[in-house]
Symmetry: C2
Subunit: 361 residues, 2 copies
């Protein structure tokens, strides 16, 4: 018999009822309001009461009904976002869009406050973060480019009891309740693999942008390491050249690359470890025999991919990161519990001309 039907009404036993705050209150021998105050750490309860309530929650396996919570949420949750500033179409623009979009659709009453610092200046970060501390907030969402400064800032947040989450990249060992990002090193390896899979390269050109030189605040160091390690391991004789370009002087880029090529005419492989392979598109257009791999599905990069200038993009759903991060963080702020899972690594996608359709949502 191939046909049958089954009911999946309750995951558990026949008439298992999902516990509510009322059940917790009864179990703990207190009122619903008290349970609520314990859960949300709003004070006004004794240590003994807290224990009874928390035990009851654990015993009954209670977790808040998010629909009801969203419906009832009146006071806005203030979430400060301490992130790099951006121009339209840049990486952090996408992160920002995901955040703003989610804030609107998530159903919680979220009040996002953006603190955008200059990615090239640690002073700017410090200025922004101290401004943030003067503002009343319920939680902070931030990334971690300036390690020392981030560590110091996180200590301050810990002291004040303000929960915080890292997005996109992080520093290990701090008190954040959440991290949503990806495996940067793996991404570097993957780019190297894709670049070299059609045959052994004699020489490779790695295009970097000027500010990468600053080792203190270089977000792509780990990714580049992954790239170089892969090449070193699999093609030990291959030489990797580096050329620096200035994104603020785009007119100089193509000449710089051309000049390099005439000095190293055997180069047939080009890569960037930042999100700006599109800056090399004009150069690549003139040299269809050069394989190229870059990162991130910025609109301009995708254009270069579709045109065939770039072979592969290693990327992930950028906006998914921010959406997911904000969702988990908001839920956590709402329930008063840290997210069940602390680290969320998103999958690295490989984009090629043939599978790009449908990637952008």
């Amino acid at each position: 018999m191939h046909a049958f039907f089954a009911k999946f009404a309750a995951l558990m036993s026949e008439n298992f009822k999902i516990p509510t705050v009322f059940d917790i209150a009864r179990e703990a021998g207190v009122s619903r309001g008290t349970v609520d105050r314990v859960i949300h750490r709003r004070g006004r309860f004794s240590a003994e009461t807290e224990k009874r309530v928390r035990d009851a929650i654990k015993r009954l396996g209670y977790s808040a009904n998010l629909n009801a919570a969203k419906l009832a949420s009146r006071k806005p949750r203030r979430i400060a976002c301490l992130l790099p500033s951006f121009k339209e179409g840049e990486y952090w623009d996408y992160i920002n869009r995901g955040l703003v979009e989610s804030a609107g659709t998530l159903g919680f009453n979220l009040d996002l406050q953006m603190f955008l610092y200059d990615q090239t200046s640690s002073d700017s970060f410090k200025e922004c973060s101290s401004m943030l501390l003067d503002t009343p907030v319920d939680g902070v969402l931030l990334n971690a480019v300036f390690k020392d400064e981030v560590v110091e800032f996180s200590r301050e947040l810990d002291e004040r009891g303000i929960p915080y989450a890292f997005i996109d990249n992080n520093v290990e060992g701090l008190g954040n309740v959440l991290y949503v990002g990806f495996d940067v090193y793996r991404g570097g390896e993957l780019a190297a693999f894709l670049l070299t899979m059609s045959g052994k390269p004699e020489e490779i050109l790695l295009v970097r942008i000027l500010r990468d030189k600053d080792h203190r605040g270089d977000p792509n160091r780990v990714r580049r390491q992954g790239f170089l390690d892969y090449i070193g391991k699999n093609f030990p004789e291959t030489v990797v050249h580096t050329v620096f370009i200035d994104p603020n002087a785009p007119e100089g880029i193509t000449p710089t690359l051309e000049a390099f090529l005439s000095e190293h005419p055997h180069v047939r492989h080009l890569a960037t470890t930042n999100s700006r392979i599109h800056l090399a598109a004009p150069f690549l257009a003139a040299h269809p025999d050069i394989h190229a791999v870059g990162f991130d599905d910025l609109e301009k990069n995708v254009k270069a991919l579709k045109a065939g200038y770039v072979d592969f993009l290693v990327t992930h759903h950028i906006m998914d990161i921010s959406r997911e991060c904000l969702r988990l963080f908001a839920e956590s702020l709402s329930t008063g519990e840290p997210p069940a899972q602390r680290n969320h690594y998103v999958h690295l996608d490989i984009l090629h001309r043939l599978n790009i359709d449908g990637y952008e949502r």
Copy 2:
């Protein structure tokens, strides 16, 4: 100045209030209950009232608050799922898991009723679908392997006013409110590209499973076409051989492939267009110089990928399809409106040993 902050409290003007049923009722000059009856097509209202309500809804841009809807949903929505039967770990098992999981977490009171037919027998489909019609349901979720039978069944559903959605594959031009799936032809092309990107193949072995022979109910025909078209276009001299294997007699598979190889010793490329490349894993293990590409991230396939027997898997988040499909369908049943977008195509992922981590969620 690099720091600033902005509020995104309301997407629109300063104090824009999202309209509720009450606003609609006032605008239309009726009571809230009447609005509700119109929205959910539960009868008991005049044609003129309906128009007034619908106009008001459009004018104010009303759409139901899903949190409140989920919270208040008391009567379960009965959704019948008419899908291929499966063994554990097979493709449709994943689809099924996604459905069951979603039904539990979506927050609506969903009552899934599974009608599983034998993929190799159109009679079984007919039997199942008529059984389904004897059961009271609010909506039907189905896929489309047997075209004629599906068309007939859909007519019946249209007549009865039962909304239905296609999942994974569909038939164009029918009255379904929703389709969630992917571009099958594109997937075939992509597999061919990945198989051949490291160099021109002399001969290719396409491994098919026995029941593919039946052209009426062959779900992989289009995918295979994409594969063959790509090869034909880019490598016109390459010969594509086909070997049929029987998944029900796994012990015969490796000998069959070995026999083929000794007859065609130049073959270095192997592909399947179904989800069972793992059946060729033992053979591939013995021939590490053979490139192989398959479809779908079934556990066994991923194992073969990690072991290096398979180079690439073309796939998509299988369970995402069913999760997304059920979510949109349930929301549609709840609001009484068809989903804003009818066709949802998921992105094709390329899986390789280096990016498999984190793919499974």
